[in-house]
Symmetry: C2
Subunit: 341 residues, 2 copies
C-alpha cells in the first residue's frame, strides 16, 4: 500500500512514519511507500529508507497534483499552530482550511474518476472546545460536548471536521477526524503554540536549562505522549467504518493532569534539583488562552477502538528520556543534577 | 442607515424588506436605503420604493466589490436549498460556503480599513441537526444540541455559523447566526427543497389543486410563518451583543407540529373538501430525508430575546390566506370548496 502523511516532516508525522515503517504493515497490508509531504524536508533517517519519498512545499500548492496520484490512505497532519493562526488570520485560513479543502477535492476528483474512496485520518484538536457564555463548559469535554471554539485554530479544525464528515457521507473519501490532546514531551525548541510550555517545563529542566511556568500549578489539561498519539492514529486508520460509529470527530484519550502533578512527576523521575529549574513567571497572555482550554477529556469512542493514553505522567517523561538517550544535550540536566536511576 | 439583504428577492428576503420599509426604522435608526441583492430581480413593489436598490447577480461575484461600500447592517439570507446542494455538491459549496466567506472577507477588509464592524444576521437552518449513530437524537433539538449534519446543506450552514462566530470574535464583524425552522406556507410552486411539501399540502388545496403527501401523517416538524420569521430576524439584528449571549448560533422558535395536526388545522380553517385534496402518496426519497430531521425545536436563547413563533397551525394558515386575498388563483379552492367564513 501507498500512504501519504501531510506534515510528514513534523514531530508527530515523522514519528508516525517511523512507527509504520518499523511495523511494515498497516490495516493488514504491506506498506510499499510512504510519501512525507511537508514545508520542510523530512528527517534524514526517514529519507534514507527506500520506502520513503519526501516532498517539500505548501500543501495548498501540491494538492491539485494529487488528482493524478493514487494513495490507499492519508494521514493529514499538516497544520499551522494556534498561536500562528491567532497572529495571522490569513495564514490559518489558508494552511488549515483551504489546504484541507484542496486535499479533499483532489481525493473527490479521484473517486469520481472511479477510484475507491481514499481513507483519510485527520488530526483535529481539542482546541475545538472552548467555553461559550451560553453553554457552561463541562469539567471534562466528551465526544458529544458542543464545540464552541474560542480560537481561529479551533474554528478551522472544527470546520475541517465537518467537511470531512460530509465528504465521507457523500462517498468521496473514507474520512475520520480524531481530536488530539496536547502531546508532551515535544523535543526541540518552544514553538508558536500557547501550549508550548507544557513540554518546556519538562524538556528544559531535563536538559539542565531553566524553564518558565507561565500559568498556575493548579491548571489541569489533557495530555498524551507522542508514541501513544501515533499508535492511536494508526488505530483510527484501522478501525472499520462500523467501529468508528458515524462520521463525527472523536476525542483521542488523554491523561488529565495538573501542572503540579507534572512537576511532581518530574521530581519523581529526575529529582528535586532538575524540578527546581522550573521557575514560576506568570504570562497573562498565555494564562488567558489556557484558561479557555478543557481541563480534561473523556474519549468513549476512542476507548471502544482500543486507543489509550498513559495513566501517569511519569511514563510520559520516561518515554522522552528513552527517546533521547543518545542525544548530546537533551538529558544534560538529568545527568548532572538528576537522581541516580 | 443602509442595509443589504442578500437573497433579497427571495420569499423571506422580500418580506423582510417590506416589513422593514413599513416600519421605517431598525435598531432605533431610520432606514435610508435597502439594497436587495439576488440572482433574480426583486419584486416590482419593492423596486418602486425609492429607498430600495436592486442588484442582480451572483453574490460570489459581487462580494469583492463590497469592500468599497458601507453598510450598517446585512441580512445574509442568500442560499442554495437542500435538494440542490445534495444534487450538485459544487453548487452548494460555492453558493453557501464560498459566497459567505467572500462576503465576510469583504466586511473584514472594511473593518481593517477603519470601519466599524458591520452587523450581520445570517440565516442558518435547523438542517444543521441530524441523527448521528454515535449520538442519540433528542426528541427536541435545543440551542446546545450537537450539530451532526446529514446533508451538505446542513454541513455548509453549520460551517458558516462557525466562520461567523470566529470573524465576530476577531472583531471583523458583529455577526449573529439564527437557525430558521421550516417556513410555511410558502407561496408559488414547489422548489427543490425536500421540505417543499410542508407548504404544498396547505397551498395547493387552498388553490383548489390536489397535493401529494409524501410522508406519514405522524411526521412531526418545527414550523413558523414567514411573518414570525421576519419579525424574529429583525429582533436578532436588534439584540445587543450581551443579550445574544456568546457567538454561537441560536435556534429560532418553531411550532412543533405533526402533519396530521397541519391537516386538521386545514380542515378547521378551510373545511373538509379542501382538506380532502391532500392525497397520501409516499415518496421514499423524501420520507428518508425527512426521517433525519428534527421532530421539534426548543429555542431558549431566542425566547429570551422575545422572539416567538405561532402557537397553533391555524394561525399560520390564516396568515397565508390574508396574504393572498387579492391573488387571482391562490384561494380558488377555498372560495369554491371551502367552508363559509
Amino acid at each position: 500500500m501507498r500512504l501519504l502523511i501531510t506534515g510528514g516532516a513534523g514531530f508527530i508525522g515523522a514519528r508516525l512514519a517511523r512507527t509504520l515503517l518499523a511495523r511494515e504493515r498497516l490495516d493488514g497490508r504491506r506498506i510499499e511507500q510512504i510519501v512525507l509531504a511537508d514545508q520542510a524536508p523530512a528527517p534524514a533517517d526517514l529519507l534514507a529508507d527506500k520506502r520513503v519519498q519526501g516532498r517539500v512545499g505548501k500543501l495548498l500548492e501540491h494538492a491539485h497534483g494529487l488528482r493524478d496520484e493514487d494513495f490507499d490512505g492519508i494521514f493529514h497532519l499538516a497544520s499551522a499552530v494556534s498561536g500562528e493562526c491567532e497572529a495571522d488570520f490569513d495564514l490559518g485560513m489558508s494552511s488549515n482550511l483551504d489546504s484541507t479543502r484542496a486535499l479533499l477535492d483532489a481525493l473527490r476528483h479521484r473517486q469520481q474518476k472511479g477510484a475507491k474512496p481514499t481513507k483519510l485520518v485527520f488530526s483535529s484538536s481539542i482546541a475545538v472546545f472552548g467555553p461559550d457564555p451560553a453553554y457552561p463548559f463541562p469539567p471534562l469535554v466528551g465526544d458529544d460536548t458542543l464545540p464552541t471554539p474560542q480560537t481561529s485554530y479551533g474554528a478551522q479544525k472544527h470546520i475541517c471536521e465537518h467537511l470531512i464528515a460530509d465528504y465521507t457521507r457523500k462517498g468521496f473519501i473514507d474520512g475520520r477526524a480524531a481530536r488530539l490532546v496536547t502531546v508532551t514531551v515535544r523535543p526541540g525548541r518552544p514553538n508558536g503554540a500557547a501550549s508550548s510550555f507544557f513540554s518546556g517545563i519538562i524538556r528544559e529542566p531535563l536538559a539542565g536549562e531553566e524553564a518558565q511556568l507561565p500559568v498556575d500549578a493548579s491548571v489541569s489539561h489533557p495530555m498524551a505522549s507522542p508514541q501513544s498519539m501515533v499508535e492511536g492514529l494508526a488505530k483510527v486508520y484501522e478501525a472499520s467504518r462500523e467501529a468508528f460509529v458515524g462520521r463525527s470527530a472523536l476525542n483521542m484519550p488523554g491523561l488529565n493532569v495538573t501542572v503540579q502533578q507534572m512537576l511532581d512527576a518530574l521530581e519523581k523521575v529526575a529529582g528535586p534539583k532538575v524540578r527546581a529549574l522550573v521557575k514560576p513567571q506568570r504570562d497573562e497572555r498565555i494564562a488567558g488562552i489556557v484558561a479557555n482550554w478543557p481541563k480534561g477529556v473523556t474519549s468513549r469512542r476512542a476507548s471502544a477502538l482500543g486507543i489509550t493514553a498513559e495513566s501517569n505522567f511519569e511514563d510520559i517523561i520516561r518515554q522522552y528520556i528513552a527517546d533521547n538517550e543518545g542525544h548530546p544535550t537533551a538529558l544534560k540536566g538529568l545527568r548532572e543534577l538528576g537522581v541516580q536511576r
